[in-house]
């Protein structure tokens, strides 16, 4: 259990908690039928666990850990495609560190690196571009994944590759957009989400307007939130106020970083390079309408799947694994029969257990003692 005095601003935290306790009494929520707030972003999930916010808040408030961790929604078959490409001769496969340990059917990128294949962990897509310039005899493949936070950087990298006429550089595109994901989530019949804590840094790119369908069509509050404990608590207060007033809006708690209109230059470069096409399959979420992000016709020559002529892997998940139910808030990680048994951070079955932003990893790390 976290002690409030450990926070940087303990008095502010105490005062916010007092306000939350008073406000929650004015609502219909109870311990048995709590207010379900979905935090969309994995960064929020980790802050909530690290600072024990879920335990400091009254039992009438329950956090549901949403699908906003791009690594967690990676279908197993996509890792198999990564591995197919990485095993081809002369390929240098570049990925963000988060994807290294995600298991596919044939192992993970980490395991095949151990077998001698050339897998590089990069910090920025520009590092991959540099490798392409330095190694003209190699094929450099960049694994592009992430929501709109990483898309502008990848898009600018593609533009630079074209400008430099680099023929040994390509992209395995596994991006996902947040709005189709949320639409799919809200269309599920048995979902109990009362309000959303909106992703802070992703919204810095797309702005707050795209979320309006949630408040308008579904009558649910959305508050774009910062990551610090006081930010999250303030956002909970804003959600409670909307519920009490029964006025549902998209509000911006993180105004100091997120401009309401987002970063328009970043939006423009995303639209220039990428297009939404096809109904892609996502782990735990199934097929989502128009969620497939592809390179635009003009940049198709950089599509690694076309260059290496890969086949799509369709991999059925273990029927006992409840990754999808965790991602959609139908259950907590501890309700998964694989949790802590066949699925642990060192021998994970699902990405939720290996991603730094995954809910199962957070439970495993911070809540083990509660389970005994």
């Amino acid at each position: 259990m976290q002690f409030i005095d450990e926070f940087r601003a303990p008095n502010a935290v105490k005062s916010l908690l007092n306000q939350i306790n008073a406000l929650v009494k004015k609502t219909v929520f109870t311990k048995d039928s709590p207010l379900n707030i979905m935090e969309v972003c994995g960064g929020h999930t980790h802050a909530i666990f690290k600072f024990g916010l879920d335990q400091l808040l009254p039992p009438e408030i329950n956090f549901i850990h949403g699908p906003g961790c791009p690594v967690c929604v990676l279908p197993m078959g996509r890792i198999d495609t990564c591995i197919d490409i990485a095993k081809q001769p002369n390929v240098m496969f570049c990925t963000f560190g988060d994807a290294m340990r995600v298991p596919g059917q044939q192992g993970s990128l980490l395991t095949i690196r151990g077998e001698g294949h050339d897998i590089r962990i990069i910090y920025s897509p520009l590092d991959a571009l540099k490798l392409a310039k330095l190694n003209p005899e190699k094929q450099i493949v960049l694994f592009g994944l992430g929501f709109e936070t990483t898309m502008p950087g990848i898009a600018l990298t593609i533009l630079q590759a074209k400008q430099l006429q680099l023929s040994n550089f390509s992209l395995l595109c596994q991006h996902i957009c947040i709005i189709p994901t949320l639409k799919a989530l809200l269309a599920l019949p048995d979902i109990k989400i009362d309000a959303f804590l909106g992703p802070g840094h992703l919204s810095m790119i797309i702005g707050i307007k795209p979320y309006e369908f949630i408040s308008q069509d579904y009558a649910k509050p959305v508050v774009i939130s910062g990551f610090e404990p006081v930010d999250i608590l303030q956002s909970v207060i804003m959600i409670l106020m909307q519920l009490i007033k029964q006025q549902y809006l998209v509000e911006n708690q993180y105004r100091r970083i997120v401009a309401d209109k987002g970063n328009t230059a970043a939006q423009a470069v995303i639209n220039q390079v990428f297009t939404l096409q096809g109904n892609d399959e996502w782990r735990g979420l199934g097929k989502i309408l128009d969620s497939g992000v592809r390179l635009n016709e003009k940049y198709r020559e950089y599509d690694a799947e076309l260059r290496f002529n890969t086949k799509r892997h369709c991999q059925q998940d273990d029927p006992n694994a409840r990754c999808g139910d965790v991602l959609t808030g139908r259950c907590k990680p501890i309700n998964c029969p694989l949790f802590g048994q066949t699925c642990t951070p060192t021998s994970a079955y699902g990405a939720l257990m290996v991603s730094s932003e995954g809910a199962c990893a957070a439970y495993y790390q911070y809540r083990q003692s509660d389970l005994i």
Partner: protein
């Protein structure tokens, strides 16, 4: 991957004005600043920016930057993966 890292601009490339060196925790790294600059709002040395995968995505004031850094440091202590994200090293 989703949390940006505050970095302070310490120099801007004379030949490539969209490339800058930014520092975080004393480590300098090359970043691209084209998405936060334009002709009528050039970036200056000493400016803090929020960086995602090597690209500056928004400007920050110094107080905000320092607060966010101490928050990320706190996360990093127990979260090696956040550390990878933070300093960009394995």
């Amino acid at each position: 991957m989703c949390i940006g890292i505050p970095c302070q601009i310490v120099s801007i490339d004379k030949n490539l004005p969209h490339i800058a060196i930014a520092e975080v925790n004393g480590i300098g790294r090359e970043i691209d600043i084209s998405l936060v600059t334009s002709n009528n709002k050039p970036i200056t040395i000493g400016q803090w920016v929020l960086v995602h995968v090597g690209f500056a995505m928004s400007m920050l004031d110094e107080d905000e930057a320092k607060q966010t850094l101490s928050f990320l440091n706190a996360m990093q202590e127990e979260e090696p993966d956040v550390g990878v994200l933070f300093i960009g090293k394995e």
